[in-house]
């Protein structure tokens, strides 16, 4: 195994651990409710989810839509499956299943 590869992996992995764990461990007190830090942190989660969803969606749409029908089917199935019980598991699996089925139908047609 290459020494350079191990060095790169260990440095990147150590930084990943530090980014993920240290802010939680070193957080000594709660942000004051309604304060700047609290509002910033409260918005971080929704902002991260919106960003990651858009980042995952964009390659499907730009520069040209790759598979619009499966995409619409997948997105619609995800939303519809989420609504009744707010289950992330059911929504994700339904979305992927609908996308795959629509892809198969479009490929066959």
């Amino acid at each position: 195994m290459s020494g350079g590869l191990i060095l790169m992996a260990v440095l990147a992995g150590a930084a990943n651990w530090a980014f993920r764990a240290l802010p939680t461990i070193l957080m000594r007190r709660e942000a004051r409710p309604g304060g700047l830090a609290a509002r910033f942190l409260a918005a971080t989660g929704p902002a991260a989810m919106a960003t990651l969803f858009v980042a995952a969606l964009l390659p499907e749409l730009a520069p040209a839509p790759k598979a619009p029908v499966p995409l619409l089917a997948g997105l619609a199935a995800t939303v519809l499956a989420f609504l009744p019980r707010r289950s992330v598991v059911a929504a994700t699996l339904s979305g992927a299943l609908a996308y795959g089925l629509a892809f198969a139908v479009m490929s066959a047609g």
């Binding site: 590869l5 790169m8 992995g13 989810m49 730009a62 997948g74 929504a91």
Partner: protein, 228 residues
């Protein structure tokens, strides 16, 4: 703190969509790594030690381009700075009584998807539990490592005969992020969500996907500072 087997098992179950999303991507990474000239052991080592999807694919590009190890490492490190916000944001949602005694261990698994799933669970009223975090993180981590090993072992073309399965699996993370977004969506979060989506789109189209992600997260979080 809730330290219980049911909470751990609940975490394992809640990780199911992450596991199904990670496995094919990690599989692709294993295939790409062996195609790039790495051994199966080296591919798995990268997944065990780095454990960050986009960074690992970038690592392959850097390694094959002959970039020095230190330059490659710092490039990978810069890609994951966004993770510094996840722990504090999660603990804020968990409330003041939430234990973080074992955070040094479970926080290693705080990837984008694990963070989103945990935050969504708290938003739906679930109590914070370190056992749940261990279950959630462990299942996702094992799926990532197992997928990499399977991909390195199988080599390219394993899913070529099943294009619809491949397409469905490829959509899994998009569906997961949408479901996670829905789980934290409320009137109070609409502004950060809208700003993040717009900033990510603009940054991705004008500069690059990496800049788009940074712009979206920072823009959305900063939008939360504005008072209604």
């Amino acid at each position: 703190m809730t330290t219980s087997r049911p909470a751990f098992r609940a975490g394992l179950f809640a990780a199911l969509p992450i596991v199904l999303g990670y496995a094919p991507i990690a599989f692709s990474f294993g295939v790409a790594a062996t195609r790039a000239g790495l051994t199966g052991a080296e591919a798995v080592m990268l997944s065990v030690v780095i454990y960050a999807g986009a960074s690992q694919f970038l690592a392959l590009a850097l390694v094959t381009s002959g970039a020095p190890a230190l330059v490659a490492a710092f490039t990978l490190i810069a890609m994951n700075v966004r993770h510094v916000l996840y722990g504090p944001a999660l603990m804020r949602q968990a409330g003041s009584g939430a234990s973080r005694r074992h955070a040094w261990a479970w926080a290693w698994g705080l990837t984008d998807e694990v963070f989103g799933q945990a935050l969504g669970a708290l938003a739906r009223g679930q109590r914070f539990s370190e056992s749940y975090m261990f279950g959630l993180g462990l299942a996702a981590y094992m799926a990532w490592i197992g997928g990499t090993a399977a991909g390195a072992w199988a080599g390219g073309g394993a899913l070529d005969r099943w294009p619809a399965v491949s397409a469905g699996l490829g959509f899994m993370l998009t569906a997961l992020f949408l479901a996670l977004l829905l789980s934290v969506l409320s009137r109070a979060t609409l502004r950060p969500v809208a700003v993040a989506a717009l900033a990510c789109t603009a940054g991705s189209l004008a500069l690059s996907p990496a800049w788009g992600i940074l712009a979206g997260m920072l823009g959305g979080a900063l939008a939360g500072l504005l008072r209604r």
